[in-house]
């Protein structure tokens, strides 16, 4: 509503301005010289001052932006290499800021200072090798430093040492959901291909591969703090991009090939939630959500849930109509919690068995596994999947 008001005010202003120019034109009717539409000394003067005003606008807007929106930017990186990235980012920002302030300052200051006047004579200044050398060499040197630092960081981040002790996890993308596959005890992911997709085996894992026998498939990503996590990414349909902003990590998922990215998480989810900036951010978001909830409730809708922070994996490559809602929760555990969580998961091989059993109700009525609630949930989920598949087949 306020925006509508703003628009109306601006439109009215525009009309007023337009009327003013009309009046201005009328006052010139008598003189109607042919250069009436060429800037006069008076125009130069006014526009020169506005130039100066615009410089002030740029500076003030920048400062306002930094103060008001500066804290929106991603804060403390949650991965080891993130520190390196942020450090380079900060150095680059300082440089950019200095150059921006100086060049914009010169541009608009000269515009103001040298605004035209009929008695003024411009200086014939066609070239200067010295000046041009200065502004070729300085950027070259500065850029050389940035390039070197950047390449050093890039090589550190992108090349995963094959002998390193890493946790191997497959990230699997499809319209519009993420799935993760853990390598299990052998820490080797079994082979996979979309041609092997069948029933519960939605990732097309090759179950004849011995390495695949202990693979675990989940829809919530857990990773251990302090260990290098090596992601291998696949996509089954279109391009997706696995973007984990808090870890400064991103890599495209490409159908037909496996891409990779590795990093070491440095804060567990619980620790990251407790960081002062995050406490403040979440409080702010919850305040906004409370306001919105009140509005919704007043209109007869339901209130929004309060927000607690979680790391996220987002899709960041346009992948279809619901691209804007393709996400997975990421949890960083302590190594102990992580081990425990993983040990409670069933392997894909077991899931497939369970699904088979569920298909034959005579035998599979009472599963003989440890009767924990978790297992029952899994079975239920599996049955749902089977139902969905059956429904799809029936539709054909």
């Amino acid at each position: 509503m306020t925006s509508l008001l703003v628009i109306i005010v601006v439109v009215l202003l525009a009309v007023a301005l337009w009327q003013l120019t009309k009046i201005f034109d009328l006052t010139q009717v008598g003189s109607s010289s042919d250069d009436s539409q060429v800037a006069s000394d008076n125009d130069n003067n006014i526009q020169g001052y506005i130039m100066f005003g615009f410089l002030a606008f740029i500076y003030i807007f920048t400062i306002y932006g930094l103060l008001k929106w500066g804290n929106l930017a991603l804060h403390t990186p949650a991965s080891e290499h993130g520190l390196l990235v942020d450090n380079l980012m900060n150095i680059t920002w300082v440089l950019i800021f200095i150059v921006q302030v100086i060049t914009q300052g010169l541009l608009y200051w000269f515009s103001f200072k040298n605004r035209g006047h009929k008695d003024r004579k411009a200086l014939f200044f066609a070239d200067s090798n010295k000046l041009e050398a200065i502004w070729s060499i300085i950027p070259s040197v500065v850029l050389a430093c940035l390039i070197l630092y950047g390449l050093y960081a890039w090589n550190n981040i992108m090349f995963v040492d094959k002998d390193e002790d890493v946790v191997e996890i497959e990230l699997y993308a499809q319209q519009f959901k993420w799935t993760a596959r853990y390598a299990g005890k052998d820490n080797v992911l079994g082979k996979a291909n979309v041609r092997l997709i069948e029933g519960v085996n939605t990732l097309g894992v090759d179950m004849s591969d011995p390495n695949a026998q202990d693979d675990i498939v989940v829809t919530e990503l857990h990773i251990p703090k302090g260990k290098k996590v090596h992601f291998k990414m696949r996509s089954q349909d279109v391009l997706h991009s696995a973007y984990m902003p808090h870890f400064r990590a991103q890599m495209n998922c490409v159908p037909g090939m496996v891409t990779e990215f590795a990093f070491i998480p440095t804060y567990t989810t619980a620790e990251y939630r407790e960081l002062p900036f995050m406490v403040e951010k979440v409080a702010h978001i919850n305040k906004l959500r409370a306001e919105k909830s009140a509005e919704l409730v007043a209109k007869g809708g339901t209130a929004l849930d309060p927000y607690t922070f979680d790391y996220l994996l987002l899709c960041n490559k346009i992948c279809g109509a619901s691209h804007y809602n393709m996400q997975m929760k990421v949890v960083v555990d302590t190594p102990e919690e992580y081990k425990k969580w993983l040990s409670e998961k069933t392997t894909l091989a077991q899931d497939i068995e369970a699904a088979k059993a569920a298909e034959k109700p005579a035998e599979g009525a009472a599963p003989t596994t440890d009767t924990t609630a978790k297992v029952q949930d899994t079975v239920k989920a599996v049955i749902d999947t089977v139902k969905a598949v059956v429904a799809k087949v029936a539709m054909k």
Binding site: S3, I7, A14, W18, T21, D34, S36, Q37, V38, N44, I50, F54, F61, W69, L72, A73, L74, V85, T92, I96, Q100, T103, Q104, L107, F110, S111, G116, K121, A122, L123, F124, F125, D127, S128, W135, S136, P139, I147, G150, L151, W154, M158, V194, Q236, D237, V238, S241, P245, A249, M251, P255, G256, I285, R289, L314, I318, S322, H323, Y324, K396
Partner: protein, 600 residues
Amino acid sequence: MSAEAHGHDHGHDHEHEHHHKDTFITKYIFSIDHKMIAKQYLITGIIMGIIGIVMSLLFRMQLAWPEESFKIFNVLLGDKFAPDGVMANDIYLALVTIHGTIMVFFVLTAGLSGTFSNLLIPLQIGARDMASGFMNMISYWLFFLSAVVMLCSLFVEAGPASAGWTIYPPLSALPQAIPGSGTGMTLWLVSMAIFIASSLMGSLNYIVTVINLRTKGMSMTRLPLTIWTFFVTAIIGVISFPVLLSAALLLIFDRSFGTSFFLSDIYIAGEVLHYQGGSPVLFEHLFWFLGHPEVYIVILPAMGLVSEIMATNSRKPIFGYRAMIMSVLAIAFLSTIVWGHHMFISGMNPFLGSVFTFTTLLIAIPSAVKAFNWITTLWKGNLQFNPAMLFSIGMVSTFITGGLTGIILGDSTLDINVHDTYFVIAHFHLVMGISALYGMFAGIYHWFPKMYGRMLNKNLGYIHFWVTAVCAYGVFFPMHFIGLAGLPRRYYTNTNFPLFDDLQNVNVLITTFALVGGAFQLVFLYNFFSSIFYGKKAVQNPWKSTTLEWTTPVEHIHGNWPGEIPHVYRWPYDYSNPNHDVDFVPQNVPMKEGEEVLHH
């Protein structure tokens, strides 16, 4: 076809070739006169620009007030895509896609280059017309046809192409993946193929004309910078556009004939497709081999126009004429070997990322030279703030602001986290979108008298510039922050992420600026169309400029000059030359006895 274009050597026998009478059709529609073709390009570009900008306002409204109902959505998008006035998520992507396509290709490539290359190349080098007037006409009409096909694609049943303007397969190849990849995508590809043919004909014509038809005395180092940039732009176009054409053709093969250039191992909608062995990354390489030079195809002509206008209105030579030429050449060369910086995280070998980081950051050097040379041109000048000059200064400002963040995006390490976020949107809209648009506006305000023989209203021009300048920063400056917050681009709404709830106020502000800025373009449109008919009559050389186009009569004639083509005796930037009393000496004024050349 009569030989409209002549070399300088036989320009004088021109008159007796003008015995035929122009009918309405040969004069206004199938014209082979470069000045008329320029105007045709301009008007078509403006119309496409209006469509592209309106689309951006629509999706900005969706972003600021997600899933709210607006009557205008329903009116413009129809019941299918905006039932009850709420924009659907697939049409959102279509709007984004077509906005990008229209602005990049139809407005800033054809609208900008097509208009000013056609208008200025013959006039500024002293030629009767383009090397081939007929091919020039074909070039325009192919462009027109491609625009028509693109607009037709908006009305197909399943909606227009929706895979983003970069049309990455498999999304663009599979109608199962997104409805827009059906007929809409086919029409998109057909339109682009025609567009590329048009662009190639235009570019070849520009190159040949600049090389062959310069008047006597017009050596390469006496060419105005406009001509240099048009010339180099045409060369980059000829080198890179065919690669996009090949990518488009291969994509058509994949889509229609079952080949697997870009597709492999796909399981979609419950079935495995037969594709095997192709790679979407290959498409990305081919696309960006055009796509990156394309941004220079867009910005170089704007740079040329701005250089020319700045010199004229500063009453000073452009500073470092030769350095400006060298930097244009350097930018053009580098532009063809940096495409991989769009693909740092595409899955290509990280070693390639290192190489492309290196070449990309090198571009900052010639760009810095240009920026500093423009600033120095203003120093101790006698600045005449005509609207064209304001837009030129604005262009330098946005080019610097947008260009600086390129240092972040061009650095593979930093790109990891800002890739495909709103930070990228902010960067490229400032550095090539707004900058090129400012260059185009500057050109229109400056050469309007040459095109229509009348002046644009300067006060409306001032209003247009200042509101646009404030709104452009108002839209794109805050976008850097929401990008740094990690907000991905091409999201229909971010309400599914409470993490981004605190960005919503910023989005509202951005949209408000966009709506105001968009509304004020009406001031320009009014000024433009009313001045064609009712503007003040122009004098021959209203800006007191040195270049040859201002030696032609105000009323257009075929062949540009009534008598002989003027000869050229000096470079184009003799403003405030201490050897002369007047503050500008046109290129066709002979050197005085014993006059020294004061520049190199």
